[in-house]
Symmetry: C2
Subunit: 140 residues, 2 copies
């Protein structure tokens, strides 16, 4: 059970911005160097973050990105959603006829997987970008 790198890098990059950006834009080049993430890959990621209004871009020389909101108002669940990273631990859809291995009735374990998804989503829903920055002595 893994998270893809796009989602992970997105969170890393945003955390980086929250730490290093004061008021001026942060260039992807800087993030790339600090976090060891490919610049070209970051571009792909930030395109989605921008579309979902998590960051704003400033073009031209001295340009870069800034956070659209305060870190304490950015939920991790938002970020994952922007990256199309859905938590859907199993395939069969709740409301589809064609589900649960082709049977119309819910498979015996169906509710369990729904519960699992809920459990994970609630975690992402509860965490804000600002929570990641209290790095030392992280209070759980």
């Amino acid at each position: 059970m893994k998270l893809n790198t796009k989602s992970r890098y997105a969170v890393m990059a945003l955390a980086d911005m929250a730490v290093f950006s004061t008021s001026k834009a942060v260039s992807l080049r800087d993030i790339s160097l600090r976090q060891g993430i490919s610049l070209l890959y970051l571009e792909q990621i930030f395109l989605k973050l921008k579309k979902n209004n998590i960051v704003k871009s400033i073009r031209g020389i001295n340009g870069g990105y800034i956070l659209s909101k305060s870190p304490k108002d950015i939920k991790i669940s938002e970020v994952l959603l922007a990256l199309d990273q859905k938590v859907k631990t199993i395939g069969c859809k709740k409301d589809s006829k064609k589900s649960c291995n082709g049977k119309s009735s819910k498979c015996i374990t169906h509710n369990f997987w729904d519960e699992l998804d809920l459990h994970i989503n609630s975690f992402f829903e509860s965490k804000k970008l600002s929570d990641l920055l209290k790095n030392k002595e992280s209070r759980i």
Copy 2:
């Protein structure tokens, strides 16, 4: 973020056994038909369940599998472990030198991912096979 089908089928199959098996062995053929899972695939899965002492096999005609323990003593975490399905949401290892994108220092978000893994694992740890069977009116 997905669970692989092997883990899912394993849980489904065990739940099936818990429901349909009284005392006699359940053949994979029966599980295959009831749950719509390929017989050949089930064989692969049960090999691992057997190695990890979650089920016992009975060979020969009228053979099959029985649960090694009572459903209320089988934790879902055990089942996933048997299938090598580790919850490791990101790649970088806690104690490795080569981690967090090649930097020796922990990446800024490292603690967060650890927390996430813990959160998911505790769910699997807390759930028993028997919990899946109280299907209607599932109490969370």
